[in-house]
């Protein structure tokens, strides 16, 4: 019996995020319509959808910024609403649209967040991350004076300060030139592989998603209308790129059988 249990846990990776029948409405407007999904340890999952599809609301619920109307969310087996601090200590977040305080030096910003996350040996941790993302020379520069590419990489340093087990990335390569975006993608892939980190990734850049994500969730009008590997989704929708799938879904050019909330 014990051997059976052991072999089962070895075969099935631990569930890091479990979302069941999650529903959120703002008055009469439904933002998320009873979505369910799971993310296993070490998985990189892309959350895609047009503007207003429910991506941001989903992420904000996972981060404890918004309370769901109904349904359950579990991260590391805990309710992020009730055990917010314990959950957030093992997570981190980075968004191209959320800046660090502009009037602090890069190293000061990272030191402040290292303190908030209770990081030990802060100086070494910060220095290692700055070197990893090739921004060590910016340590003493004011954060407000960074370019988009530099700012994104510093944000990612902040997001990795606490060695998160679960990382939420909101369009990390938005507004980056192709060269920097490619560097960031490769670094993220490297870090994720080395640390076996679980990642939920939202992006409008389909290349990011195809390169980084093992599985994709397509949201449309608050529902998950497609879920699977990039290859499976392309085959299912009869398209050649995820961008074509994205456009077809955004323009309601998909058959009703897809719009069922069923997994592929």
């Amino acid at each position: 019996m014990a051997a059976d249990i052991k072999s089962k846990t070895e075969l099935e990776p631990e569930t890091i995020v479990a979302v069941a029948k999650l529903h959120k409405s703002f008055g009469k407007a439904v933002a998320i319509d009873e979505i369910s999904f799971e993310i296993k340890r070490g998985e990189v999952v892309g959350l895609l959808g047009a503007n207003g599809a429910g991506k941001s609301t989903t992420i904000q619920i996972l981060l404890g910024l918004i309370a769901q109307t109904s349904g359950q969310v579990s991260i590391f087996g805990m309710d992020p609403w009730k055990e917010r601090v314990a959950v957030l200590a093992r997570c981190n977040f980075s968004s191209a649209y959320v800046a660090l305080p502009y009037n602090l030096k890069v190293v000061e910003n990272l030191d402040v967040f290292a303190q908030l996350y209770g990081v030990s040996n802060r100086k070494k941790k910060i220095s290692d991350l700055l070197e990893l993302f090739e921004v060590g020379h910016l340590a003493q520069k004011m954060t407000g004076g960074l370019s988009s590419g530099e700012s994104t990489r510093v944000n990612l340093c902040k997001a990795l300060l606490n060695d998160p087990e679960f990382l939420l990335l909101d369009e990390p390569t938005a507004s980056l030139d192709p060269d920097i975006a490619d560097k960031v993608r490769k670094l993220l892939a490297q870090v994720q592989a080395e640390r076996h980190m679980t990642v939920l990734y939202t992006s409008h850049n389909m290349r990011d998603v195809q390169e980084l994500c093992q599985r994709v969730l397509f949201l449309h009008q608050g529902k998950i209308i497609a879920e699977g590997s990039s290859e499976a989704i392309l085959a299912q929708f009869g398209q050649e790129t995820l961008e074509e799938v994205f456009i077809a879904i955004a323009r309601n050019q998909v058959t009703t059988s897809f719009v069922s909330g069923e997994r592929l």
Partner: protein
């Protein structure tokens, strides 16, 4: 359950320290207005002293009131304006998704406020002594409980104002500066409660600061024992602090449920 971990509070304080010391305008904002108040109203009081009917203690009352009101005002702003600083720098999301408790966040604003108040009060007291020969230490040991009561009332007002920003969003930002001045007329800051119309006096007696300013005038005019004032002010402060803490938690949760918090911080 740990509500306040010193390391986290220290981290948040570091952030405010960097923000304030990097901005000359913020430092100016903290020091400039109180010092201007002291200079202008001090000279106005000196002028009144020359008039025949003037009470010789009027200038000490006025200068003491200006210094004390600044403590209340600064304590209130240390919470509400610190919160706005985070909003304006679009950094609140990073702070809200870090593993810090609301109590740690509020505690850091208390520490920052206390530091500012000490600094500004020292400057004002020094100026008051140099310009008007007003020695705040004549208030003696009563200074400490009077100071603490104003501090707690300011913090309660700051949490109340921040709660309203959670509820009404950016449109309520002006309250961060307005609230202390809304209660100033009924707090007996510059005049005794007896000056107010009779129907307004019960309202004034519900404000902890009223007892502090009445107490301050009693001490300055040599009418010794102000224990009753201090006990009443402390009792009211404890009541309001608990009530406002509950209100703050409720408004924060309501903002989370309505999605208003996400809109505010993103």
């Amino acid at each position: 359950m740990i509500l306040v971990r010193p390391g986290r509070v220290l981290g948040l304080c570091h952030r405010y320290f960097y923000i304030y010391t990097r901005s000359g305008f913020r430092v100016l904002d903290v020091i400039f207005w109180p010092v201007m108040d002291l200079i202008v109203w001090g000279f106005v009081a000196k002028y009144f002293m020359r008039l025949d009917s003037a009470n010789p203690t009027a200038i000490t009352f006025l200068i003491g009131a200006i210094i004390f009101f600044n403590i209340l005002n600064r304590a209130q702003q240390s919470i509400s304006v610190s919160f706005l600083e985070d909003l304006w720098s679009r950094n609140l999301l990073n702070a809200f998704v870090a593993p810090i408790t609301v109590a740690e966040f509020v505690a850091s604003t208390f520490v920052v406020g206390l530091t500012q108040i000490f600094a500004v009060s020292l400057i004002m007291s020094g100026l008051a002594f140099a310009l008007y020969a007003f020695n705040i230490l004549t208030i003696s040991f009563a200074l400490i409980p009077l100071f603490l009561n104003l501090l707690f009332m300011g913090w309660s007002l700051g949490m109340f104002t921040t709660s309203l920003i959670f509820r009404f969003g950016h449109q309520a930002e002006a309250l961060a500066w307005a609230v202390p001045f809304l209660i100033q007329p009924i707090s007996a800051v510059f005049y005794p409660v007896s000056v107010l119309p009779e129907w307004l006096q019960p309202v004034a007696y519900m404000v902890p600061a009223t007892y502090v300013f009445e107490g301050m005038r009693a001490v300055l005019s040599g009418h010794g024992d102000i224990t009753n004032y201090l006990v009443t002010a402390s009792g009211l402060n404890v009541f309001y602090f608990i009530a406002v803490s509950i209100f703050f938690g409720a408004m924060l949760n309501s903002a989370r449920e309505r999605g208003a918090l996400a809109k505010l911080v993103v």
